[in-house]
Symmetry: C2
Subunit: 348 residues, 2 copies
């Protein structure tokens, strides 16, 4: 695996939701952070600008300052219009490649399709990492995930963008603290940048989604004893339900954690499909996953972002009453409670 | 739409299951058949060699004989190892292109990736049609299928390769005879060759499967009043369930026809997932489709291939008792019965 020391480009968007890839890597990344590149906040430290990330790093104004801070990889950490690389980034990218850096890119547009950047990387010994580009040779699914020695725990969601990756990562940390040897299995671009490996399953040819999920499970570190598979999409979102199901069936989890945005009654995007009550969501995921391997939802990870403590607590209590399962918000310190429920489900 | 007169290449495999693409086009294709190219059976007529196809056409031994019979398009109608174009076809392909023919290819390997063939096609005004290659610019799903004026009827299956395409085509013929203006919506390579248009949804990047399904529905002939959407895969097949669901949610049918291989109790490929009883299969498809739009299964199309009349009839009766729905085998003349059930479901 490549050794990295990140220079995280946020390009003035450090505090925006557009920088959620950067936020993910800054909060959970396994590789060290040399510096953040953001002219809006340069001269400050990340720990004072965004204390919630729990990470100290200088914020610099240029690639060369990042290199001076020890950076070896430039991370393009901001969503851009249409997912393409904006022209005004080009001088930065060239400067990084001329300094033999790696550039890691989670956007839809691929650096490897740009002849000038490819030529520069080759000439200077730099590297272009298009995180969303699927590897060659993904097989069709053949049920191999049923045969791996590790236990398999998946996250699933009632909708997209509710926090499945964060829940998987928080539970991975608790699992490690409890003596497991867990591996977080990344299935989307931010997760891949955090883990240093993975496949963006929504970018794979549809026939091979469950084969990609199976391959991720089969290729997990053999020293691990439990795999936490990052879920994608949601069964009730017609634009993504196919990816959700292919990933679920391909990765063949024994235990699921349902991630739900507290209070949400319909998906957030067109056609605004109505969600069934939470106990029905739980049963549906259990039924559908169990076609491949017997599977139980262990607990409900509620995302109560922006709510008061009372409001969050009332949502958590209501979810527990409705589903009969432990519920909690990992963003409010409930990861241990949820992990206990996962362990309990695994032991059944 | 391109005018075609087919020369169907079966390369000695005319009577084999490997030629199922050829069989589909010969049985259901909307375009005329000039000739079949098969050295094994040359000199005979198709109607005597394979009467079940209900089509007369000379079987010839060379491309030039096919051209003499009026052919304008060479159809590669046989599955090959790995889905690639075998070397011994190259002289045939070159001869066809040098005669300015079109070549239609439903294999995984694309003619358009072969510089020599591309150059020949350009030089002689021929055309290369890689049927499985998705069009550019497929949008993400946004629920537009809910707004088209046509009624939408889908086929779904308990497993892969049980006859969903054939059932859709047979019902399309009955619908037309009954005064509807139906359009068969092709979602796989053989269906596309038959219809002359469509998208092979299993070859689309997974994020865009339901967008492709939506686009097929939205782009249907505006003179049509009912769309018969060819289903793919099966929910219980972990390798294809994602494609099945993306297509189902993207095309948003109001009525489904469940296609089932009589007597099958588990999927035919690894991991040999056990199928639930047929009434449960019906309810599952209804529930899952209804998340996007209220949807009922109208009837069960049983594939009783190879069974005696008594055996088939006993399977049909058992399916009717178990599901409470009309059942029948379109390969044994029950298409009208099933269509009546579809009309009844549409009128509810």
């Amino acid at each position: 695996m490549v050794e990295r020391n990140w220079l995280v480009l946020t390009d003035g968007w450090l505090m925006s939701r557009n920088a959620k890839t950067a936020h993910g890597v800054l909060r959970y990344g396994r590789d060290p952070i040399a510096a953040v590149l953001d002219t809006e906040h340069q001269g400050h430290d990340l720990s004072s600008v965004m204390p919630s990330l729990e990470r100290a790093a200088p914020i610099v104004g240029s690639v060369s300052e990042g290199i001076d801070a020890g950076a070896t990889s430039l991370l393009l950490g901001v969503a851009t219009p249409g997912g393409w690389i904006p022209d005004h980034w080009r001088p930065l990218l060239k400067e990084a490649l001329e300094a033999s850096m790696e550039i890691a890119n989670g956007l839809h547009g691929f650096l490897g399709d740009d002849p000038e950047l490819v030529e520069l990387a080759e000439r200077h010994g730099g590297r272009l990492w298009d995180v969303r580009k699927p590897p060659d040779g993904i097989p069709l699914n053949s049920g191999l995930a049923l045969q791996v020695p590790q236990r398999i725990v998946g996250t699933v969601g009632s909708d997209c963008a509710v926090g499945k990756m964060t829940v998987s990562l928080e539970l991975t940390e608790v699992a490690r603290a409890k003596g497991w040897s867990p591996e977080f299995i990344a299935t989307g671009q931010t997760g891949i940048l955090i883990a240093g490996k993975g496949i963006a399953v929504d970018r794979v040819i549809s026939d091979f989604v469950s084969g990609a999920a199976e391959q991720l499970v089969v290729d997990a570190d053999e020293r691990s004893d439990i795999l936490l598979v990052e879920g994608q999409g949601g069964l009730w979102h017609p634009a993504y339900s196919g990816v959700t199901l292919g990933l679920l069936h391909g990765s063949a989890p024994e235990v699921l954690v349902l991630v739900h945005r507290a209070g949400r009654e319909a998906i957030e995007e067109p056609p605004y499909t109505k969600l069934p009550p939470l106990d029905h969501v739980v049963r549906t995921y259990e039924d559908i996953a169990s076609w491949v391997r017997p599977c139980k939802v262990a607990c409900v990870a509620l995302n109560c972002g922006g709510m008061s403590a009372e409001e969050a607590s009332s949502h958590i209590q209501a979810a527990e009453e409705l589903t009969g399962l432990p519920a909690g918000d990992v963003w409010r310190g409930d990861a241990e409670k949820l992990w206990a429920a996962v362990e309990e489900a695994l032991s059944r």
